[in-house]
């Protein structure tokens, strides 16, 4: 009985640890005083200020667009590589596999500095293009692995039968492989989208001065300490995430 109670307390305590900071910040985002010191009455003025902040709104749209584009390029690159790894045997295949797992495990800071060095030395101006390329580089292995996992479980005879009956490589890919991997491709796209929109460290290095995306904007806001409109931003981001997670759970569970 006592152990059961302790267990429950411990599990609740862990959720407390995960949620208390967010809850406190959300509560104070409605505080008229603008600080966490004392409660001064309910207000939504910080939210109004937040949604009037043009540079923030712009950065948010830029981020959404970038994440959608980076997810798309990573999905194309990642899927091509997955199908090639599955269909062909070639020299350096093991090296490609090894590289994929190194990229997935690498600390972001190492990817960030190595890419920025290449861009600076080649004279590529830092901005949208460099961020898009860099995001594609750190996202595509996740697509490749997701698609490969899907290909692994499927009967190779299907492809052989098609080839025996005269199908070309192109039509095998078009008519068999692509329809087969489509769910994995979508999953990979979503994963890349979330990775891209959350990334701070790589973007920090490769984005340059004139291309400000949401995480970097937030970064410059939170570094200056407590600000009432950042509390509101925090709450807005939390509820947006909550809605997305809830939605994706619903979708998964329906299947």
């Amino acid at each position: 009985m006592v152990t059961k109670l302790l267990k429950a307390l411990y599990v609740i305590g862990m959720y407390f640890f995960l949620y208390i900071p967010l809850i406190v910040t959300i509560i104070f985002s409605f505080n008229d005083a603008g600080t966490a010191e004392h409660w001064n009455g309910f207000t939504t003025k910080w939210y109004v200020a937040l949604f009037r902040d043009q540079s923030l709104i712009k950065a948010a749209f830029r981020s959404l667009l970038l994440a959608a584009m980076a997810a798309t390029t990573s999905t194309v690159v990642g899927t091509i590589i997955a199908i090639a790894l599955h269909r062909y045997r070639f020299i350096g295949q093991r090296v490609v596999f090894g590289s994929l797992s190194v990229i997935m495990m690498s600390p972001e800071i190492i990817q960030g500095i190595s890419l920025v060095m290449v861009f600076v030395i080649l004279g590529v101006p830092l901005g949208f293009v460099t961020v898009l390329l860099s995001h594609t580089v750190f996202c595509f292995p996740f697509v490749t692995m997701t698609v490969l996992a899907r290909l692994k479980g499927f009967n190779r005879n299907l492809v052989e039968a098609a080839a025996d009956l005269g199908a070309t490589d192109v039509s095998i890919v078009q008519k068999i492989l692509i329809p087969l991997v489509l769910p994995a491709v979508f999953a990979g796209w979503l994963m890349s989208f979330t990775l891209s929109i959350d990334d701070v460290i790589i973007s920090f290095f490769v984005s340059g001065k004139n291309y400000e995306i949401l995480p970097l904007k937030i970064y410059s806001m939170v570094r200056t300490g407590i600000q009432p409109d950042v509390n509101a931003l925090c709450a807005a981001m939390f509820f947006a995430t909550f809605a997305v997670v809830l939605l994706s759970y619903r979708l998964v569970r329906k299947k």
């Binding site: 411990y10 599990v11 862990m14 959720y15 995960l18 949620y19 900071p21 967010l22 406190v24 104070f28 600080t35 966490a36 010191e37 091509i80 090639a84 070639f90 090296v95 490609v96 590289s99 997935m104 495990m105 690498s106 600390p107 800071i109 190492i110 990817q111 500095i113 890419l115 920025v116 060095m117 290449v118 390329l133 580089v137 292995p141 996740f142 692995m145 996992a149 070309t168 490589d169 192109v170 979330t194 959350d198 701070v200 460290i201 920090f204 290095f205 995480p215 937030i218 970064y219 939170v222 570094r223 407590i226 931003l233 925090c234 981001m237 995430t241 909550f242 997670v245 759970y249 569970r253």
Partner: protein, 287 residues
């Protein structure tokens, strides 16, 4: 005709793969390796001659101190996440199906929330008039607020808070797959819950533990924004040092040398990861 179209397709795809990996993976990493042996240049960032000075700098007083401090912080973070995250995950994994789904979702929500925002939220807990100090003052345990924010302790809390889901999720993935009949058989034969936990569950979940520890340890060395938001003036995270070498002092060679050392350490961890029975497949699922 068909054969030639097929082989054209094949070579086009393979050339694309070689160029992509060559340009976006090997070139950047080899450049870092090369830079770590070059000399700092105020205009071109890098110049000859080749030397080993940059690696020698790693053993230098201040830098060595920060490296050791960062490893200490990463070790504390990993231990905390393991000691508090593992039993928690174990209890959740043993619950009913519906409860598990809800509880897991409640872990994923903060995990998906922007990590800058989550670290920022900790300020409201740790500051002088934050939740902890207010509580301690009101209950009379302390008279003056304890300084928590902008200390190494705050960075530790931030790291643990940011990274604990990275321990929970891989451990959960392994615990969920453990055959329950093993546990039941042991219980029937008279094993105590403690025996079952330490002799069956923990050994079977080693791959998840290793994966979780790596997923916590490496970021704990490098997430410089945690130390920016919550830490004090003294640097305690290796990532901040690398960033400053590249963005502030423009000392690419030493920055590159630290990165290479970190990469070697990562390759060693990756080796442990595969040796403990993990697969590339599982690596993807960690995210």
């Amino acid at each position: 005709m068909r054969k030639s179209a097929d082989s054209f397709c094949r070579s086009a795809v393979l050339y694309f793969i070689f160029i992509w990996f060559g340009l976006m993976f090997f070139t950047p990493n080899l450049l870092v390796l090369l830079a770590s042996f070059l000399t700092k240049d105020p205009v071109w960032f890098l110049r000859l001659p080749l030397n080993l000075q940059n690696y020698a700098a790693l053993g230098d007083g201040v830098l060595l101190h920060t490296i050791l401090k960062s490893f200490g912080l990463a070790t504390c973070t990993t231990l905390f996440c393991l000691l508090f995250g593992y039993p928690f995950t174990y209890f959740i994994a043993r619950m009913g199906k519906d409860a598990r789904a809800v509880l897991l979702m409640l872990i994923i929500v903060p995990f998906w929330t922007n990590s800058l925002i989550r670290n920022y939220a900790l300020i409201a807990v740790l500051s002088d008039n934050g939740l902890i100090n207010t509580f301690l003052l009101k209950t009379g345990l302390i008279r003056e607020p304890v300084k928590l924010l902008y200390t190494n302790f705050a960075v530790f809390v931030g790291m643990a808070y940011t990274l604990v889901p990275f321990m929970i999720l891989p451990v959960y993935a392994v615990l969920e797959k453990i055959d329950r009949s093993l546990v039941e058989a042991a219980a029937d034969l008279g094993a105590t819950p403690v025996d079952i936990f330490f002799k069956i569950v923990v050994p079977l979940s080693v791959p998840g533990i290793v994966a979780g520890c790596i997923m916590v340890f490496l970021p704990a060395l490098t997430l410089f924004y945690v130390s920016d938001i919550l830490g004090g003036a003294d640097v305690s995270v290796l990532g901040s040092v690398i960033r400053d070498k590249f963005m502030v002092s423009r000392d690419w060679p030493v920055g590159a040398a630290i990165s290479i050392a970190l990469t070697l350490f990562m390759l060693f961890l990756l080796h442990l990861y595969f040796k403990s029975g993990n697969t590339v497949e599982q690596e993807r699922q960690l995210w």
